[in-house]
Symmetry: D2
Subunit: 230 residues, 4 copies
């Protein structure tokens, strides 16, 4: 067994399905305890069975103020500590059907921004407040939303705006809380295979990355660098 | 008289006060016709007097769907064309009192994002739709919000998030509409002297910048490059 | 006549042919005095005839230590001042025939780096020393090398390395000399039409850009932003 | 024992002292075989003793064409494979005494560029050629030069130029060789504790980072993000 995350207790928002669940499995394989949060009760049940005795699942809507705090408290109660947050956006039952700017409705625009940013802010806030309250450092990784998740192939300008906002938010709070020994980094991806991100997530939450703060790790097989070719 | 903007008809959202008014004056000095939009009726009156016969002022709330479209239609009716949009955020009567993440309220977070992003999206949408409808190109410049505008000296994490979103939005739509000969660029600043931005705004809206698209011009006297020193 | 560069005395390295000559013409049209430098005596003669009474041409090899200093002294003697430097790399008679890394020879690598970086360093050094010696500010614009200038269509990894070095050098010295009121910016391009860059060069050397320092302006019609689309 | 690098055979240029030796130790702890290269015979001897039976040391000057190739061949002969290259610049016995641009000598400028870039190019070329010749993928990590390594506290503009060149070179070749399943990434740092970089190096050379290509990982405890604070 690997031990990169031994003695780490980690809350994974959006951890009962998709990229969040895949990461949670990798965290457990590397020695961590995890609490996963998801909206769907059945996914929670399945995730807890799947993840084994080092994991707890908590049903909740992460766009509500209390959800992340409750999960963090459960993490502390069950595992005696809270060391890291992994925020993976959940797929939405009714994905916003926004598209390119010239066809975009004001309500879709607001909904996409809210879906992508409210849960992010609340979970990061709960983690930062807890780390500060416990007078200890900690690590946060925010997975940037997969902007290709809408079914159509059209540009989602609300989605790309939200993606930029996630990165700006993370860098900004990284600068503010560096003095509190809290690290915040982003994984940015366009891939559709959730497991591709697991190694990067394990690395960033581990102490091997303890001098890495405010960074955006692009995990896309080099697609972005290919396009930048000049 | 300079002629960098001769024969250009330009709508300036937030153009009756501050950086928007200063830019509108520079546009007129460089040969342009302008329509300025502001919330306050008295500011509109003063701006029209100040700007002279090549300008019209239109009172309106740019967070409402119709405002930018109405201004564009006025521009076409009065000056026979619509060539460019300059979006300068208006100061808010009740600036959102958000602060660093650990003290941030959910309502302040949502309000700051909405104040900074709704007017931006609506005005850019109205401009893009009009350019496409007229089957002609055009130029848009978005002024990124001045995140130091809150009275306190504290970090505004909602503000920095909005700033990143403005840039991401602008780059993303620049890529989509480049094929329609529509250019979108951003002026990013932290300075408090509105007139410092005028030359950059004139340049970006002029044909001298016709090969510049999707760029962020930082106008801060080199402050950011000083900090990047590594 | 435009007046964006009225009363400015500008030295243009590589100003007797190509993008440098085109920029020098634009500088004169905007009211500047210019001294252009080129290796070829006939190009110097033609450039002086072409540019008119507000220009002088000086023959010299810009990879030699004295050339830029001599041109600056000529500029001061003839026009009474030295306010700005525009560094446009000259085409080489024997362009380095480098290619992708796996085919690259050590001598080609060194030659490409040297051809692109020595003249840049010497000219910027001469300008900075003169500005400091005269105890006045000034403006420098470095045109990044056109990496597609080699005849083949293959990647030139030495060329892209030099391009990155030009940008890193310019940002680094911009930070150091900001306190001396010296601004250094870069125009980065892949276009083959030299005149496309003229408006950007006029803007950056003018006082309208006096709060812009350490920036890279990409002038490529949006090609780079299209490729960044994510 | 960790197993992130099990079955990997890695050549470490500059691996007998400093950050290179520290990384080589971490590679061995994670299951790799390593060949380390250094100029000093005694450092080679000490490194081989220190690293144990899974390591070989090879004396050589990495600015000579043959050195990296020889090390790669030794790696294949001894361990049956060659999977990755780690390029850590060696400290120079006579560090170039360059400084800020206005005091910089042409010979110091050339020497600093050559010291930082020749060994980089040759080692990357040898690795890319070998991977292509074996018709297999591979991973390269280039450690960007520590620009604070000169004794003085003054800016080294030659050093910052070289640093930018290392990054530009790495991104450019990453784009070209992505189709050959060769990944090239950069670790950029300003820290003086070599061991701080070990975890990042292990991660980037491991298969956990197999979808990461052309990226720059800044390992500086968040110093750069603090300075970007806007």
């Amino acid at each position: 067994m690997e031990t990169w995350l031994i003695n780490k207790s980690i809350v994974v928002i959006g951890g009962t399905t998709g990229a969040g669940l895949s990461a949670a499995q990798a965290f457990v394989r590397n020695g961590a305890n995890v609490v996963v949060v998801g909206r769907n009760p059945e996914s929670c049940l399945m995730a807890e069975l799947n993840l084994g005795s080092n994991a707890r699942a908590k049903q909740g809507d992460a766009t509500q103020s209390q959800t992340a705090l409750d999960a963090i408290q459960l993490c502390i109660r069950e595992f005696g500590s809270f060391d890291a947050l992994y925020h993976a956006p959940e797929d939405h039952e009714e994905p916003s059907t926004d598209g390119p700017l010239h066809n975009l409705g004001l309500e879709s625009w607001r909904k996409t921004l809210d879906q992508n940013l409210t849960s992010l802010m609340l979970a990061n806030q709960a983690a930062v407040r807890t780390f500060m309250g416990m007078n200890k450092g900690g690590s946060i990784v925010n997975l940037s939303p997969d902007i290709a998740s809408t079914e159509s192939n059209l540009a989602s300008h609300a989605g790309t705006t939200a993606k930029a906002a996630v990165i700006g938010f993370s860098k900004s709070i990284a600068a503010t809380y560096a003095g509190h020994d809290i690290r915040i980094n982003v994984i940015s991806t366009d891939t559709s295979m959730p497991a591709d991100l697991d190694g990067t997530a394990v690395y960033l939450l581990s102490d091997h990355a303890r001098f890495t703060n405010g960074q955006v790790l692009v995990v896309d097989g080099g697609r972005s660098v290919l396009e930048e070719q000049y």
